[in-house]
């Protein structure tokens, strides 16, 4: 297989694109911590209509989707050779629509007011921004010639995102009174299935096929896994959705999906254990924790298919799933940001470009790992015992976690700007 040329760094997004999405995601993380704190202190109970829905959407859209879109804008050119034309302009349009739409949506979920016009505007901005981004990326991704297991998986993840978004828009319009809301509960379950498993999890799986081997020099994933896992999970999710719509039992399909995720996480843990260069920075620990939590979450949820779980255990299955996704996201952020800062500055010819450990020192990432573990541990106990002080401490650790990340991101931006302003550049 030969290839010469065809790529251009001019088409790669500037560092500001990814940093803006990451800073937006981290700010929503801070908002999440503050909102949960207010909620647990029952300060907001007089005017908040549905705090659970607010928390879920701050987390899934404000935090996770923002991180993932920022990472995709950056990683698609690097991992798949995909060229997104006018990346800065496109990313700005997406981010503005997304931000306005999400704030509107959160306002509607939080308040007891429900003017239909605002539901329509929230659907239009949020759906418009995110669907535009995902269709734009999907269109470019489909056209590449040499697909890897990562790029194929990203296609399924983006289709999963488009389905989750489209159904989300339908649900939002139903709440605004624009549709009759036929099969509302079934579509709600399909919406969650595609958002959690078809988008967030499949994207993590796809990216891991590339980065686990590349970042940590591990043995390759088994061929059957890298070739067929994302396709299998996506197909099973479609089958589950059809079963829900036509009203037949989908328990066996759900169990198979959870089993495949447990298999994937176990193999990833094994690959990390077998890595050839046994360095042990915070990102390895974030990945290990994430995979461990995925196994716990999927195991509890699988048991829940056969017996009725008590409420606390059900909440812990949600918490471990959130812990899985956030752990992997943090692992990626602590790899992407130092790399991009060094790479862009070096490519621009700054001989004194800071090395990766000068951008975000590994010790700072390790501190974040400890805060993250403390946050998850506190919430595990808080959800089990339901003691108010633990809920408050748990909320404070969320604020500390995202606050620390925000500090690290701002430090990296300042380092980048300082190097550009105060060091010499040469042409090469």
């Amino acid at each position: 297989m030969f290839s010469q040329g065809g790529l251009s760094l001019e088409q790669a997004p500037p560092i500001s694109v990814v940093m803006r999405f990451f800073i937006m995601a981290t700010s929503f993380g801070l908002l999440l911590g503050v909102f949960i704190l207010i909620d647990k202190l029952e300060i907001a109970s007089n005017f908040v209509q549905n705090s659970q829905l607010v928390i879920v959407h701050i987390l899934a859209l404000g935090v996770m989707a923002s991180f993932m879109l920022g990472a995709l804008f950056q990683m698609l050119p690097v991992i798949a050779g995909v060229v997104i034309k006018f990346p800065t302009k496109q990313a700005t349009i997406v981010q503005l629509l997304f931000l306005v739409g999400l704030l509107l949506q959160l306002f509607l979920f939080a308040t007891k007011q429900n003017p239909p016009l605002l539901y329509f505007l929230a659907s239009a901005y949020l759906g418009g921004g995110l669907l535009y981004a995902s269709i734009l990326m999907l269109k470019e991704l489909i056209q590449i010639k040499d697909h890897s297991s990562s790029s194929k998986g990203m296609i399924f993840a983006l289709i999963g995102f488009i389905l989750a978004l489209s159904i989300g828009v339908y649900l939002l319009l139903t709440l605004g009174g624009f549709t009759t809301g036929s099969l509302f509960l079934e579509f709600k379950e399909i919406h969650y299935s595609f958002a959690l498993f078809g988008w967030i999890s499949l994207l993590i799986v796809s990216v891991s096929f590339q980065v686990i081997e590349m970042f940590y020099i591990t043995p390759k994933y088994p061929n059957f896994m890298s070739k067929y896992l994302t396709l299998s999970i996506f197909t099973l999710l479609i089958m589950k959705s059809i079963s829900l719509i036509i009203g037949i039992d989908s328990q066996a399909i759900t169990l198979l999906i959870f089993t495949l995720f447990i298999l994937y996480a176990s193999i990833t843990l094994h690959r990390l254990y077998k890595r050839k260069r046994p360095t042990s920075d915070a990102t390895v620990w974030f990945w290990r924790l994430g995979m461990g939590l995925l196994i716990v979450s999927m195991s509890i949820t699988s048991i829940g298919l056969f017996i009725t779980l008590n409420h606390q255990l059900e909440l812990i299955s949600y918490l471990t799933f959130i812990g899985f996704a956030l752990s992997v996201i943090f692992a990626m952020v602590y790899k992407i940001v130092p790399f991009l800062t060094w790479f862009h500055l070096s490519n621009q010819g700054y001989m004194e470009a800071p090395m990766m450990h000068d951008v975000i020192h590994p010790k700072k990432a390790k501190i974040h790992f400890y805060i993250h573990v403390a946050m998850l541990s506190l919430w595990t106990v808080a959800l089990t015992l339901d003691i108010i002080i633990l809920n408050i401490l748990g909320s404070i650790t969320i604020i500390a976690s995202f606050g620390w990340l925000l500090y690290n991101l701002i430090f990296a931006v300042k380092k980048y700007n300082y190097t550009q302003k105060h060091t010499e550049k040469f042409e090469w």
């Binding site: 297989m1 030969f2 290839s3 010469q4 040329g5 790529l7 251009s8 760094l9 001019e10 790669a12 050119p77 690097v78 991992i79 050779g81 590339q210 081997e213 590349m214 970042f215 940590y216 020099i217 050839k276 260069r277 360095t279 790899k335 790399f339 060094w342 790479f343 070096s346 490519n347 990766m356 090469w428």
Partner: protein, 83 residues
């Protein structure tokens, strides 16, 4: 042509990119970088293209990527690749 061999198979990302970019900043027309890597180094190839280098990539039967990058505008890259 002087060959600079960089076996990146056991290197942690982004060591191969750091070493390659340092080399490419000083390389002459009579030299070339020959990299072996399990992954196709897309960012490095983007840099090479942007800076006016020529490159050739080829994957062997064991799925190992052979990458040649040079400033030389006339040499036959296919003759230099050892697959």
């Amino acid at each position: 042509m002087l060959k600079h061999l960089l076996d990146a198979r056991e290197m942690v990302h982004p060591e191969p990119l750091q070493i390659s970019m340092t080399l490419l900043q000083t390389i002459s027309n009579e030299e070339y970088l020959y990299m072996l890597n399990y992954k196709k180094p897309i960012p490095l190839l983007e840099v090479a293209k942007e800076k006016g280098f020529r490159y050739l990539t080829q994957q062997d039967n064991e799925e190992l990527w052979h990458i040649i990058i040079t400033k030389n505008s006339v040499c036959n890259l296919e003759e230099l690749i050892d697959v």
